[in-house]
Symmetry: C3
Subunit: 141 residues, 3 copies
Amino acid sequence: MKIYQKEIVLKKAYPRGFHLITQEIISNLEEIKNINAGICHIFLMHTSASLCINENADPNVRRDFLNFTNRLVPENESYYTHILEGSDDMPAHIKSSLYGNFLTLPIKNGSLHLGIWQGIYLCEHRDFSSNRHIFITIIGN
Amino acid sequence: MKIYQKEIVLKKAYPRGFHLITQEIISNLEEIKNINAGICHIFLMHTSASLCINENADPNVRRDFLNFTNRLVPENESYYTHILEGSDDMPAHIKSSLYGNFLTLPIKNGSLHLGIWQGIYLCEHRDFSSNRHIFITIIGN
Amino acid sequence: MKIYQKEIVLKKAYPRGFHLITQEIISNLEEIKNINAGICHIFLMHTSASLCINENADPNVRRDFLNFTNRLVPENESYYTHILEGSDDMPAHIKSSLYGNFLTLPIKNGSLHLGIWQGIYLCEHRDFSSNRHIFITIIGN
């Protein structure tokens, strides 16, 4: 059994929205080629963004995700008390946990084994963030 | 350390709803008997359905999940732009990521180690889908 | 490759709310010191509470999470049919799956490897629960 770990810093600070980062993740994971069967754990080291799996073809899906999510978790609710870091901050924390901050994906025959329509989304919930850090653990034979 | 992988195709196309598939999953995983301590990663290879853990006894729970979820993510919102595949399609993508498309479950003494009330739900968010594919990785001693 | 498993019973029954349990979890996991690189799978054995990762500093964040979540999944909806166990029961099931009931976290150099602002939340969705059981699997070198 092999195990590899590495930290990735995304190549840019993404704006608020849902962004397809499958290729950026894969391009950092040459070690997967050495794994015949295993799992890839992808952990976002933040509390105001998320990772999820969704449709990898139509950019309209990502736009609709953003518009839905902004309505699901509104800004400036009168009952919010964590408000010092801006109106997008507390909603970003909530969105982070609704979508989740980690993925575990299968590895088969030296590649991530995803469904044909599946891609990795970075869900950036802050208006202005920095380059997000992702910590990856690969386990397998 | 042992590792097993296999793809399961669910035995039918489930209608929109929350469906208890614990036994169908377990019946496909004879390899778990060989694992004393480990984890079972269950990965749904789609972007319009979900997997989650919830109550395994009362069918009313699954019905209430469906009715709540349909209200949480409405169809035909005026701002949706991904609309060519039917009114249930974009909501299905959103629901897929809110509940998530994978589970990691503990294995102990040759069995999935779940709480007494816990079962595995397939959350089917499309009205008419096909038999869903699930890719399973078992790791343990 | 090493594997450790253990069941933790939280030291008290928490009230409805979002509770920071990072230190309580870590204090039960001496085995992590023996792991150089690996993962820690933390599985809540219930269907009316959740685990998630979020902000570890300001208690206002946890209060806002509670108030938002109570609004997101209201009690006493006319269409609920699973109502015999109290008005907080069906909402608790739904909230459990929206936030999820398990975490997989990286282990590096003998410690959980979390972002500087990340902590482990127990999201207790029932008004009166018991001491929650958590089953932990550690895998690594």
